[in-house]
């Protein structure tokens, strides 16, 4: 029961028609369409416990969104087993749909020409939310997301950040137990991003909601998700704690030192790979295992004022991983 999501050997293929560029290409594809099968997901498996907040990372076209769409019942799986809250998402039973929500950063459910409050009222009726519950939830969301004054403004006149907060409100009015967020911070400025992250974090904590989010934005993952699933070309490369991802794939550590004298500074490259050397600061990259020795050598042989040992930034780890392929 404690498992909110079970995915086993999920595969999804798409058929796409290829078209050569230009007008001739358009004509050619009209008479002899070139069909190509794309394997968006190649048999992925994972389970997620109730109340977990899991981040999905991967480059464009890795299969993140396809997974979310399959879990919320939009896509019909080519093969494999999917279960969310003990329902088969594809059946789209009303009892199932009342417990989930999918928010897509670039697709809106709000009625474009009408004030957002109209969409909220409509969702109240569609999700059959009792009036007192609706009013309570709305009040809470509106206060948390600071959108009180915008409720009567037609949606088309809202800024992207304001609209995203409205979208989130519309998606959360029925208090879903499972929340799928696809790029929730896309296109938002830094402050709005932070607000959105705080909100997601609080929502997870407060209601014990299971949240699965995809993002390009590493800050989202570092700040929010303890567990990450790394996906590339339709296959899962890593599934586990964020720190483990770093220790497993970052073979090196970073030593930052501040020197007091410039004497013999060239010698420093014997200790480790120099990343940056601008007096008084020096940044070295050393193998994880040799880190302690390198640090003590540095302290003994050079006039060090200050020294820190750090992990490689998560973005760099992931960027490097996707470039070379994580499992190599």
């Amino acid at each position: 029961m404690d498992k909110a999501i079970i995915v086993d050997g999920l595969a999804k293929n798409f058929e796409v028609t290829e078209k050569e560029p230009g007008l001739t290409g358009a004509f050619k594809s009209l008479f002899s369409p070139k069909k190509k099968e794309i394997h968006a997901l190649k048999g992925i498996s994972f389970t997620i416990q109730q109340g977990e907040l899991v981040g999905f990372i991967g480059p464009n076209g890795a299969g993140k969104t396809t997974t979310l769409k399959t879990l919320s019942g939009l896509l019909y799986p080519t093969s494999g087993f999917v279960e969310v809250l003990e329902y088969d998402p594809w059946e789209r039973k009303p009892e199932f749909l009342k417990q989930i929500s999918l928010v897509m950063g670039q697709k809106n459910q709000l009625w474009w020409d009408l004030p957002a409050i109209e969409t909220f009222e409509l969702n109240k009726a569609i999700y059959e939310i009792p009036t007192h519950v609706y009013e309570e939830n709305l009040k809470e969301l509106v206060t948390l997301l600071e959108i009180e004054k915008l409720l009567e403004t037609p949606v088309r006149k809202l800024s992207l950040g304001q609209r995203m907060r409205m979208e989130l409100t519309a998606a959360l009015l029925h208090k879903p137990k499972v929340l799928f967020l696809d790029e929730p911070t896309i296109g938002l400025d830094l402050i709005a991003q932070q607000k959105m992250r705080d909100f997601i974090y609080d929502y997870n904590r407060k209601y014990g909601a299971t949240i699965l989010l995809t993002s390009h934005n590493m800050d989202d993952l570092v700040n929010l998700a303890r567990r990450v699933i790394v996906i590339n070309q339709g296959a899962i490369l890593f599934d586990g704690a964020l720190e483990d991802l770093v220790t497993k794939y970052a073979k090196e550590k970073i030593i930052k030192a501040t020197l007091s004298k410039e004497d013999g500074i060239a010698e420093i490259e014997k200790i480790g790979k120099v990343i940056k050397l601008v007096f008084p600061q020096v940044i070295l990259s050393v193998p994880r295992a040799a880190c302690a020795i390198a640090a003590s050598e540095l302290l003994q042989n050079f006039p060090v004022d200050d020294l820190t040992i750090e992990e490689i930034p998560i973005e760099d780890v992931i960027r490097k991983a996707f470039k070379s392929g994580l499992n190599k």
Binding site: S72, L74, Q109, L122, A125, I126
Partner: protein
Amino acid sequence: MIRKFGRFVNKMVSEACRHAVKYWSIFRISFQQEFAYRLSFILWRVRNVFQILLTYFLWSTVFINPGTQVFGYDRAKIITYVFGIMIVRALVFSARAMDVSRDVAQGDLSNYLLKPMNYFKYWFTRDVSSKALNLVFAAVEFFVLFLILKPPFFFQGNFTVLIAFLLTIILAILIYFFLLFLISSIPFWAPEIGWGSHFLITIVIIEAFSGALFPINILPHGFQTVIMATPFPYLIYFPIQVYLGNITGAALAGGLMVAIAWTGILWFSLNFIWQKGLKIYQAIGR
């Protein structure tokens, strides 16, 4: 036993109420949406008035000499037909369900699939709200044009005929709804021809063969028989003829049978096609 039955009735009633509230809300928001584009709506009505005027003057010219009879129609009959088109059009052709093809092609369908509601019922509700609004305007236009043109119009007084007319209208609305939805399912397989197919089928074929431009029975007999076997004339031509009292008895029963058969066939094919479509739906646009 009685208490059990009472509980059952209670449950059914509350279920029905919840349902009613849901679709009433959709009706309301849809109505508001139409008003958000006031100018566009007014232009659409203006287009309708022009269409009627055009048809009216065309036929008035044909029947300029009193006593002229063409294809068994005299002036009064054809003018009544033209005015009949006005009301029946507003009832049958006012629909929003062509937007479905865009929803399918651009992936907006996802928003609806995620919600605990029936997509067909959703759009039918939106159609009904569009019909209600258009009917109000069509009635006003009818009245004004009637006062200006003072056409010889035939008011049906026979209650049985009016009931039959109502039945034909309901069937026409359903047939049109299913047809629109079927055409709108094409983008599941070919997203780029959504509007093209609507243009060809909804605008060209349906306009021509529904009787919205001319009564079907002015066509050669063989051609007529073929058209009457398709669902199209049951949208406009058939209801108007029933209203005018030109189709009664066995012909009425036969026509109703064909219309009911088409309603059933279209409903089943729509369900079949829609389920197939959903399975290959790609939910694009992120």
